[in-house]
Assembly symmetry: C2
Homo-oligomer: 456 residues x 2
């Protein structure tokens, strides 16, 4: 273990905090064009910091199709693993401003918590990863090859990084990605997110008559695209929660008994809170699976919106010529978004009722991710990270997606190691965002240990 | 037959046309508040005309809760039938004005057609009924008791007349209502509308979780109100067109063989045109019934709109807390809107899936109407009206509703005799509205004959 690097980190805490505060003071809100110069300023600050303080020499601002990124690398030995360190330096807007207790872009320490927009999402964790690199470079040097790719557009679509990664697979080639942008399930419970769901998001359009009709003239004889959607959506998913698409479940990678045991335990622990938070008394559907298994490791079929006909106040007896449904399937590890799309498209066309033609259009998609519990890199990460806490590492499967992790997986074929340092009450995307400051230093030490052990 | 009255009509055609033109020149657009003084002016003109020209002495403007009506009566003998003559003197707006070939409120004769807003809907036919009364009063006198009720709000909701009729059932008591506000199926084909469908229009609300959820966090476990609506709407109506509500079809008054023969013939005659107009190759659903039977004499179940979730461009993975569907059932003669509502409400609550509660809220309703083909008044009307044409009278069942006819039926328990003088190409509610002027005189003569024969 690199005791020298850990020692360096321990003696530079004040300086590491000041550097984080400097970055936080730049109001780099990517979703507001008026703040785009600040996003660029943050990129420039980071490139400069990487070269003048962290220990790189080639850090630079990389232009994206929308907002800039930052890239740096230090390649020590082709025989060693290469780790791509990812983070993002853009932040969410601060509205509603009147709910903040401190000045959003003036980092303010209250007790152990550093309050500021971007403190935990994601400037704090991003800087922690860089400070780990600084500690290593200032002492023993690196034990793995490092590439750093920082994004300025994570909160507003991430177009630039998608485009950039797709165009630079060789430059960015790596064995692992280290991402510090996830959360912990509770205070002092080290949490590694090792699985995410993919998604196939489509729009189904039902076409009936050539134009809108009136039910006084055509009611009972014209095809009704809204009714057609109801039939098809009801056929595609039963009241038992089963999705009726041939081959869909066969693609799902079965859970190991260890996976299942974790999800069963988490369901027992978290299920009642999740029910209460949603104001529900039961989770309808596939009762034969635990809540957490269903939420993270089973495919879903959800209708998000239906468009067509009359939706104003009162009544109008239109039979619309066309209606659309927005529908997504969340995909479990093992499934593929394009294959699922193809199956869905085929099935919908078979289910179209008389007089109605149906189209299924791809809106977006992404692949599920899984770093199996027995993956060696996960064991190394768990040891490095878990050393900070008394509680055992909690392995979490996410029900949603982290697009950038899916991007690295599909384009670079590199698994993401996601170590969480955010707390459930950190007010991410909300007023009074905070970062529990002890986790800043814990994150620095965890990354030092992980990058050292990985190169051993 | 009152030859004297017919003679009077024949010698006063120019004067009758001039009076119609006078009324048309008042731009009584009820849907535009800037024209409400014109609606009142039309009411005053009619009340005055009824007293100074038609032969009444008690005609008056009747205030409504919104716009005024006109009322007059001449009661000659309690032993004779009483006929309520209905018409409306308000008109539709004239937009888009640039598509008119003539000045909308300056009646212009081109060949046999009188072009003007309101010419056929409904100032021409309304004045024809009054001119028939004038012809009778100026010669032989009336053979039935007459009440005249003219409306100034037909094109904008008809609130005032609904309220007024409900509050004055005794004053307005009658045996029959004569309505000249319908159309003919084709040129020189006398057309009597003897049946209309009713309607039960509801909003179904599905409630799921306490707030909107994200499918990354709750997809696969939360109740989805949009999916719930799909299940319920699919259960309520099958792909075979059958509506699955207990007792619904049992309420439908069976068609007589004569009814059925007419509908079968009309389906053969009009079905191909209706298909072509809607851009369809078949009418999906209850193929065991003819198109016209389905369109006029079978109940319908139509979804008019679904509200809830995300309907913008692109994708958003919301699971809405709530979703609503606007649904109507058109009702065939024999059915009752409130009974159908009760059945629907009960059935929807039974069909609500786990985790979703469903409410059904009444938005509006109206009863179906039927004047059976063998009703004596229909035979009298057909003889009086059919005398004008070489073709036999066509009996039409409408697929929609005429609210005022339903109002007279439900409140006064008086059937409406609806003689059509509008042609399919009369541009009702559109630019270049016209009235085929020979039908003005035919309508006057038809009413003279009908009112004379009814009193005989």
């Amino acid at each position: 273990m690199s005791n020298a690097a850990l020692q360096y980190a321990a003696t530079h805490t004040d300086q590491h905090l000041e550097h984080l505060k400097e970055l936080i003071r730049i109001p780099s809100i990517s979703g507001m064009s008026v703040h785009h110069p600040d996003v660029r300023r943050a990129a420039e600050w980071l490139a400069n910091h990487l070269n003048t303080c962290i220990g790189f020499t080639n850090a630079r601002v990389v232009e994206g199709i929308a907002l800039p990124m930052v890239y740096a690398e230090r390649l020590i030995d082709p025989a060693k693993p290469t780790v791509l360190v990812y983070g993002h330096f853009d932040v969410q807007p601060i509205d509603p401003i009147e709910l903040w207790n401190t000045v959003p872009f003036e980092p303010t320490l209250v007790g152990d918590n550093l309050y500021a927009r971007g403190a935990v999402d994601d400037k704090g964790p991003t800087m922690a990863a860089l400070k780990a690199l600084e500690s290593l470079l200032a002492t023993d040097g690196l034990h793995v090859n490092i590439k750093v790719l920082l994004e300025g557009e994570e909160e507003s679509g991430g177009e630039s990084i998608s485009d950039y990664v797709a165009k630079h697979p060789t430059e960015l080639a790596c064995d692992y990605v280290l991402i510090l942008d996830t959360g912990m399930v509770g205070k002092d419970i080290p949490t590694i997110t090792h699985s995410l769901r993919g998604i196939t998001y489509v729009e189904i359009t039902a076409h009936g008559a050539a134009g809108d009709l009136h039910s006084g003239g055509y009611g009972g004889i014209a095809p009704n695209p809204l009714q057609a959607l109801a039939w098809v959506l009801a056929d595609l998913k039963g009241r038992d929660g089963r999705i009726n698409l041939p081959g869909l479940y066969e693609m799902v990678r079965p859970l190991t008994p260890a996976d299942k045991a974790i999800l069963d335990r988490q369901s027992a622990e978290r299920g009642p809170d999740m029910l209460a938070a949603a104001g529900l008394t039961s989770f309808p559907g596939e009762h034969q699976y635990s809540a957490m298994e269903r939420m993270t490791s089973r495919p879903t079929f959800e209708v998000h919106g239906i468009i067509g006909g009359f939706i104003g106040e009162g009544s109008k007896t239109v039979i619309p010529a066309e209606a659309k449904a927005k529908v997504s399937l969340r995909l479990a590890p093992g499934q593929n978004s394009v294959k699922v799309f193809d199956i869905l498209k085929q099935r919908v066309s078979e289910l179209a009722p008389e007089g109605v033609t149906m189209e299924v259009v791809w809106l977006n998609g992404g692949e599920p991710l899984l770093l199996p519990l027995d993956a060696p890199v996960l064991k190394i990460a768990a040891a490095a990270y878990g050393a900070e806490f008394a509680a055992p590492v909690e392995y979490v499967r996410g029900g949603g997606s982290i697009p950038v992790a899916a991007l690295f997986d599909s384009t670079l074929h590199a698994p993401s190691v996601m170590l969480g340092f955010g707390l459930p009450d950190d007010n991410v995307h909300a007023p009074n965002e905070k970062f529990h400051l002890p986790y800043y230093y814990a994150a620095i030490r965890s990354c030092i240990r992980f990058l050292t052990a990985l190169g051993a």
